[in-house]
Symmetry: none
Subunit: 194 residues, 4 copies
DNA sequence: TATGAATGAGTATTCATTCAT
DNA sequence: GATGAATGAATACTCATTCAT
């Protein structure tokens, strides 16, 4: 692993543990096993590592989704697997996600967010395209727009549950069910019975 | 306007202009026209003003929705007005929204978010309840869950467009149309023709 | 003594002892008996205290000259007393003088030098004016120009001796004599015998 | 031009442009077109290049004086040419001169100043010796002492004008005239009429 | 000689917070 | 309640110097 990667992974770990404000560059470089100054050879400021972190996080998300969604399964199962993946991922990395969001938002880097998310948008677009071609979703579906909508919908609900809410497991499960149902309707899922 | 209110409104303005990290208490008190120490009579720390800001922001949002959505209109129009309101609001206050989010996230106050949003959840719940009673949305709709889903869906799409995206006006409009369509399907909107 | 004055005097002392580069603000405030941040209430940067130091140094110089030059004495004695004063002063404060010069030069403050020196120029102008009126110096003397020339001449020679040179006492004395002689000729000193 | 020379000339340029504190070794080596480490093969520290710069500056000064002063001319003309040269030189290189002074002063290298200046002292000594032998200056002139005095006098006046002063061209010219007159008197210039 | 990536000691400056008035 | 001068802890960032290649 080269120095840049080591910095990014160390940063993820330390940010996750201490939060943005309380994380010192000193902590990051110590964990990465490099000198203080070396950090600045790769990133010009404390927050400029955020986009790199975001990239790693999206990679993790895609890997997760890729692994969990069985492309052989029928659409309705794949949809469930997708939602489950995103929910699980969000619950697992809630702290890092919150800080990446905050870190990007409080810096000049927020515009990079879409670029970083691009690969995931593409994955979802492909997912929807396949479904459309199979005729299991409504034919008037705009793929690109709906990809963003789907991601926004699932993630925001997952965030509501895992970031802000005190909700118990049962309610979480019910909320997830409801999202799935809403999604099926929203996508115009076609089957003998929903 | 009492001192506390003056602080909150000054804080909104300064945070909006300078961002969280670069905003100093000195800036806020200067704009509020009070002394440095007076701030601490009302808020115990820099970030503790955030929930108060969030409250004001939600108030603004509810007022906006309340004003834009014509309760006499038919459901499909009301839905459009609702989505329009939220989109407009998000575009108008994107900076403050991002900072409130970041400010809450980077502090211990994030859990207060749901509480602050509660009134808006209730407004939407009521909106959906009415629609359900009118029979224009599917009968298996869980009101509370769907309220959160609806808000998450519309807001996240609006954020994607106005916070991160460089998209032109046309694309924004199309994306909004798509959200509306998705919503109608998702809510199981019933009519002779969609 | 108010805080600003305490800072200036502490700065003189610390700068003199440690030199510019090795002096920390921490040293100055410690000696001044104030908090680190308090320094910045009075001076915006480390070097911005230099003009204030320069002012104090010129005050000292004028006081010295004022005290050493006996206005009752005959011109040739007054001239000797003046040169002696400047030489003594330069030898005594050589470190501070060098650092003030360096400090002003390496900052944006160098233009303030003339302003700070103004009172001394005036003192010397008055000194020459009196001599001219007494008819003991040449009548074509331009007072203002010669005041500057006189100061430059004496100071630069003193600096050569005390700042740079390794010269022994004898040579220093001889050099001073030579300056005095040069000055008498330069001023066109009129007497039965020089 | 070998690497050492390239460093010295690059250093002069960068120091002149940025000042001492703001100049980084990185800037110097970049302009010199060499690697960071190479600098330290020729100079052991940042400030240790200063004497080399000073040497170059004195070489320039001597070359200038040598070129401007016509050894065939009569003394009073040669004196004028000398003063003109020094004034011109000072005005041209004021920034570098200030920084060399400051750079030497703020380091341990200040004692080298006299050594560096030695060739110029010798040039002036020779100039005065010739005049003395020609009988155009007073016979009680101490050559070595007066050489230093002359240089100090002319340079300090030139510095006053070009480094610190905001004086207009007319005043500068007048001041120069006055220096010349003062010098003639000080040197005891002998002629039918001054 | 030459390189330039890596080092890490060093500190000026900031600013949230306090408290005597 | 209100003030604002004073505090001092806290740290991002710099850059002269080194050294393995």
């Amino acid at each position: 692993m080269d120095k840049k990667e080591r910095i990014v992974h160390a940063a993820i770990e330390v940010f996750q543990e201490k939060g943005i404000e309380k994380t010192k560059i000193a902590d990051i470089v110590k964990l990465a096993g490099i000198a203080q100054g070396t950090y600045y050879l790769y990133f010009p400021s404390k927050l400029s590592v955020m986009p790199a972190i975001a990239e790693v996080m999206v990679e993790k998300l895609i890997a997760r989704v890729h692994h969990e969604v069985n492309s052989e399964a029928i659409f309705v199962d794949r949809l469930k697997q997708l939602v489950d993946s995103i929910f699980l991922y969000t619950s697992e990395y809630r702290e890092v996600l919150a800080l990446v969001y905050a870190g990007l938002a409080s810096s000049e880097h927020i515009r990079q967010w879409e670029t970083v998310y691009q690969p995931f948008y593409e994955w979802i677009s492909h997912f929807l395209q396949t479904a459309k071609e199979e005729g299991v979703v409504r034919s008037n579906l705009n793929i690109e727009s709906t990809a963003k909508i789907l991601i926004g919908l699932v993630e925001s609900t997952a965030e509501q549950i895992y970031l802000y809410d005190h909700t118990d497991e049962d309610k979480a499960k019910q909320q997830k069910e409801e999202v799935l149902t809403f999604l099926k309707y929203g996508l115009g899922y076609q089957s003998s019975a929903i």
